[in-house]
Amino acid sequence: MSIKASEISDLIRARIEKFEAAAEARNVGTVVSVTDGICRVHGLADVAYGEMLEFPGNSFGLALNLEQDSVGAVVLGEYRHISEGATVKTTGRILEVPVGPAMLGRVVDSLGNPIDGKGPIASVERRPIERVAPGVIWRQSVSQPVQTGLKAIDAMVPVGRGQRELIIGDRQTGKTALAIDTIINQKGTGVKCIYVAIGQKQSSIANVVRKLEEHGAMEHTIIVAASASTPASMQYIAPYSGCTMGEYFMDNGEDALIVYDDLTKQAWAYRQISLLLKRPPGREAYPGDVFYLHSRLLERSARVSADYVEKFTGGKVKGRTGSLTGLPIIETQAGDVTAFVPTNVISITDGQIFLETDLFNAGIRPAMNAGISVSRVGGAAQTNIIKKLGGGIRLALAQYRELAAFSQFASDLDEATRRQLERGVRVTEVMKQKQYSPMSVAEMALSLYAVNNGYMDKVDRKKIVDFEHGLQSFFRANYADLLKQINDKPELSKEVEAGLKKCCEEFVAGATY
């Protein structure tokens, strides 16, 4: 007979010590029906909305419908062992998940239980998954950037710490890739990342974990996984759990970034629960509170003031602000952004990044549509050098699009128009970037400087990518000091500009691409 590891006497003793033997007074009810993870419970006169319920077999549920004679509850997890007549007890608590630095590097389910096979998590603190967002008094405006490492994003739609920037697009347009690149680029910046996977294939989640591990980005990342095979209740609560884990860092004066991949599927899960709870269906069969579902989640992304952090930590952390940047992802069907959930989330967030299938297929990756992608608050947080150099990019692309449509009809173009078209083509090329290769501020600055100042005008359009690649290698090899200087202090001073100019001129003269 083999002895199980859990039978070691110390462990057993610890558990006995934890055991409270006093008689418990609880409110109880009886299960009347179980349908697809939804239980109707008779009794439970004193239950509160959103309270955690205890079902037999160590499983838990959430009371979501309080009616005159019954309570509608969702079971979190497996529900096949619950039968009619089973006893349900109130717990007097609302759902909590473990939080803290011990969660970093781990893959957990919606309840914070580890599912990566790396053993239990030594987390001491637990916090409720639903919380009211910080009020206006405690907030501070966005002023520090989150570097995504992608030229197109950081130059044209900058994201600030504490901002909510929506990533929206059809399937297979690189939404997840963009988010993962951003997480990878946070390595070494102190920004903690949380990736919430909702309704995805287990294989996709495993891929993300592997890619993050390969790039050494798991150390600062928590993955909350509610795959397509988990019950709808778990998919519904996953973003709230992830948000609670992120808020822990924000409250302690650190910066965190959370990716909700994706909220469309969470809305589907919530729709399923609502319909099974017999709540009246509204537009697209979603219940009436779908807007609130997302707004209360995204409101919890915030930049909080040093006062808030000091108050929250009881004076332990002073003079540090905290932030939780939100990157929700929405998947559209055939580019339809006027559907219910996309319009809702567009209106809640502080800007959006539109990814398009046509651009993706044309080889422009990230496939961002620069015309309709905006960042409403990120400009205030953009680094000085990128702001100065990137200003021309947006304009050049806008003019290029206008002229490109017009020039299809005109055979003879004047010199100025032709030059603008050529510039537009080159800017578009420069904005292309490979996956898993985020760039530092200095590298971005160089590329932007080179294209803005016409160093690429004489290069064949098909050679632009190679030219840029060569230029970057040259820069890293010969101007390491300048690179470090810009990354340390991202400002466009006279000498920095002179340095960039010299670098470009030397490279063009050598022309080894």
């Binding site: 558990r15 006995i16 609880r26 004193d46």
Partner: protein, 178 residues
């Protein structure tokens, strides 16, 4: 079950309101209690809703069973139930009526399930403790259930105080397996 309670509520409230106003709470208790018992009888339950038996006949049967408790008003209540085809709800209505009556009289029915017979002194201490906690007069109905092994369970409506050895062992098992 839940639905039945919802449908029965207005009838129970009406009956209670009427009986309270006239001061005939006990009489209506008898009426509803007997009628509920008759309706719960399987042979009677089978004929409710049957096209061969008219509602007048059913009302007459129930009234007869209730005896003197079924005066003119009582008959009218049964008649109203019959014409709305809600006679089958009588047990639910009777239960809700008793709840309302207990609440109005400041009494609560408590079920005491014990592993072994409870000594009168113990029961009195328990009643005193419960009356303090529930702030009502307590009516104890004791039941013996040997499967509890030891201790007792007190059930007052939805509130359950589990002080049984069985319950404690179950909780210990849950803690150990968590």
């Amino acid at each position: 079950m839940a639905e039945k309670a919802t449908i029965a509520r207005p009838y129970a409230r009406a009956a209670f309101g009427f009986a309270q106003e006239r001061g005939v709470l006990a009489q209506w208790s008898t009426l509803l209690g007997t009628a509920a018992a008759v309706v719960a009888e399987p042979r009677v339950a089978a004929v409710i809703g049957s096209p061969h038996v008219g509602s007048d006949e059913l009302v007459a049967l129930l009234a007869e069973a209730a005896g003197p408790a079924a005066d003119g008003n009582g008959r009218n209540f049964l008649q109203a139930l019959a014409s709305n085809r809600r006679l089958a709800l009588l047990p639910e209505i009777a239960a809700q009526y008793e709840e309302l009556r207990a609440a109005a009289e400041g009494v609560v029915d408590v079920e005491l399930v014990a592993a072994m017979p409870v000594a009168p002194a113990q029961e009195q201490r328990l009643v005193a403790a419960l009356e303090r906690r529930l702030k009502r007069q307590v009516r104890v109905h004791t039941r013996i259930d040997a499967s509890l092994v030891g201790g007792a369970i007190v059930r007052a409506g939805d509130l359950v105080v589990d002080g049984s050895l069985k319950g404690r062992l179950e909780r210990l098992a849950a803690t150990m397996n968590a």
